[in-house]
């Protein structure tokens, strides 16, 4: 089959732009991000959450507008609802969260002792493992990093209160002025690139919205399924591991693998029952099946996804540049770069090469 030249140009452009950006980011943006995260940490997190929420809530605002409610009324109504629901959830979840933290405070030393005992047994039987000194490293690490769940709870309350104040404010601002900000940015594009810039802005906005909503839906559904599965298996801290499996989808491939391996290892160490370990593994396999067969095709359209190999490269680059956050935002950034590269390639090869006869127009 003759290779699609347009696709090759697009892939080559994506790779070149990604690497150039990564090289630039590694030296400058990494430090900049570190400074920003130190100085504006309290602002960046609520702003990022508000940005995500603005994409999640935008369809609800549109739905109310279609019903005849003015845009401002719709935004205020949705924001007030969000504050009420968010506050109610915090109040309702507070006892469950404190119970869970207490349970971790009580159980974690036991889990560490169990893991240490297991490693000790392995090292006794295997001289090579003894030389690796995993058990010793674990004990040293535990001594130096033993978490204080009381302090963690205080931190959670502080962050929660700050989020409850700032997130609705930022969300309100982004919902009301989001399109105006976008238009101001577009206005700044020179005439020469204006039409292309407009399409890129529109496509990025649309794809980010669909991507964020799709990913959140995926995380919530996978969290609920795995939580229920682990609960019925009898895995301690079922909701914590369910949440880990759900959130792991934010870092495709790597996150999923780590969450899966971690959960199965935990089940093996704590449950000490091959049948229950098998059930835990089956739950994870079922979750992956649901994700692969139903969720991925439904929520992440092909146009807004990237090739797994490119995804892995993006995650590695993101991890190198910004750590965990970089890994989480790697895929959306890669999708945005793909859109920009596709638009540049479309303009370089002209209209004729961009569409086949009878194919519907893009935008």
């Amino acid at each position: 089959m003759k290779p699609d030249r347009g696709l090759l140009v697009q892939a080559a452009l994506s790779v070149v732009i990604s690497f150039a950006l990564a090289l630039f980011l590694r030296d400058t943006a990494g430090k900049l991000f570190h400074v920003l995260s130190l100085g504006l940490g309290a602002i960046i997190l609520p702003f990022l959450i508000a940005l995500v929420l603005s994409y999640v809530l935008r369809p609800a605002v549109t739905a109310l507008e279609v019903k005849g409610v003015s845009q401002l009324q719709a935004i205020v109504l949705i924001n007030v609802t969000m504050i009420i629901v968010g506050g109610a959830l915090m109040i309702l979840l507070y006892p469950a969260v404190t119970n869970e933290l207490n349970a971790w405070q009580r159980d974690l030393p036991v889990y560490v002792r169990t893991l240490s005992g297991f490693l000790d047994g392995l090292e006794r039987d295997n001289a090579a493992l003894t030389r690796l000194g995993l058990n010793k490293e674990l004990r040293v690490f535990w001594e130096h990093n033993r978490p204080d769940f009381f302090l963690l709870a205080v931190d959670l309350i502080r962050v929660g209160v700050s989020l409850l104040i700032f997130v609705p404010l930022f969300t309100l601002f982004l919902l009301i002025d989001g399109s105006r900000i976008q238009r101001t940015l577009i206005q700044a594009v020179p005439n020469r690139y204006f039409e292309s810039g407009l399409i890129i802005f529109y496509e990025v906005h649309q794809s980010l919205g669909r991507f964020i909503r799709g990913r959140l839906f995926q995380v919530v559904v996978l969290f609920l399924i795995s939580w229920l599965g682990f609960y019925f298996v009898g895995l301690p801290h079922a909701w914590f591991f369910g949440l880990a499996v759900g959130l792991a989808k934010l870092v495709p491939f790597l996150g999923t693998a780590l969450a899966g391996i971690g959960t199965v290892m935990f089940a093996f160490l704590i449950l000490r029952d091959w049948f229950l370990v098998g059930l835990t593994f089956s739950t994870l396999a079922f979750v992956e099946l649901i994700d692969f067969v139903f969720l991925v095709p439904a929520v992440l359209k092909r146009r807004y996804s990237i090739h797994p190999a490119l995804g892995m490269i993006a995650i590695v680059i993101g991890g190198q540049v910004m750590g965990l956050l970089g890994m989480v935002i790697a895929i959306p950034v890669a999708v945005i770069l793909k859109i920009i590269a596709a638009e540049i390639a479309r303009h370089f090869r002209g209209y004729e090469g961009s569409r086949h006869a009878g194919e519907p127009a893009r935008v």
Binding site: Y193, E195, I199, Y351, V363
Partner: protein
């Protein structure tokens, strides 16, 4: 003869007017209430062009339409394409190389055919002088249809009407051209059928 596709066959008296009034006189926005026109004002894009600056080039992917607020725009064919991303920019082509289709002034609009399908531009648009344009683009139309379906439907209906009228005009012109071609063919046929041996140089070339 004016170009049916590009010239403003919907032209009415147009002077410098407010944006809302300017939009109201464009057939695509006719029949919109003042509330809807005000909403539209917030959607459209205002752009300024220098003399001889290209608005868009032939075969560029079409994104939407422009309304001339002030200044003038010439619609041409056969302008050599400038290299570079986007294809827009200060046009270096000589004006004598251009085939002028039409010159448009304040209140006129162009490029609306790309609103429904984002198809390729069929001609090049270049600002003649300092020109202010109001752009209404496909993403804005899609957004309007999503958020305010009644207004979106009116605009879509108007686009259909404008394109139908343009099509009818183009069809009438095509028929006229075909008739003229047939007439010329008929005149040329006897000459070709019996070329006088004594005068071969009189053969008509078409």
């Amino acid at each position: 003869m004016s170009d049916s596709f590009w010239s403003n066959i919907f032209r009415s008296d147009s002077q410098e007017k407010g944006l809302s009034q300017l939009l109201a006189q464009v057939p695509i926005f006719s029949g919109l209430k003042s509330r809807e026109l005000r909403a539209l004002e917030r959607i459209v894009h205002s752009r300024k062009y220098r003399p001889d600056e290209t608005v868009f080039q032939k075969n560029d992917p079409g994104v939407g339409m422009y309304i001339i607020q002030s200044g003038s725009v010439r619609i041409i064919l056969d302008a050599p394409r400038k290299s570079g991303f986007g294809g827009n920019g200060k046009n270096a082509a000589k004006k004598e190389d251009e085939l002028l289709l039409v010159r448009l002034g304040p209140g006129d609009f162009f490029g609306e055919a790309s609103l429904p399908d984002g198809g390729p531009r069929s001609a090049t648009a270049i600002a003649d002088e300092e020109t202010s344009l109001i752009g209404f683009f496909r993403p804005d139309l899609l957004d309007l249809c999503e958020r305010d379906r009644a207004t979106g439907l009116k605009v879509l209906w108007n686009i259909c009407e404008v394109l139908a009228v343009r099509l009818r005009h183009t069809n009438a012109e095509l028929t006229r051209v075909r008739d003229a071609q047939r007439h010329l063919d008929a005149k040329a046929a006897p000459v070709e059928a019996s070329p006088p041996e004594s005068a071969p140089s009189q053969k008509v070339a078409l």
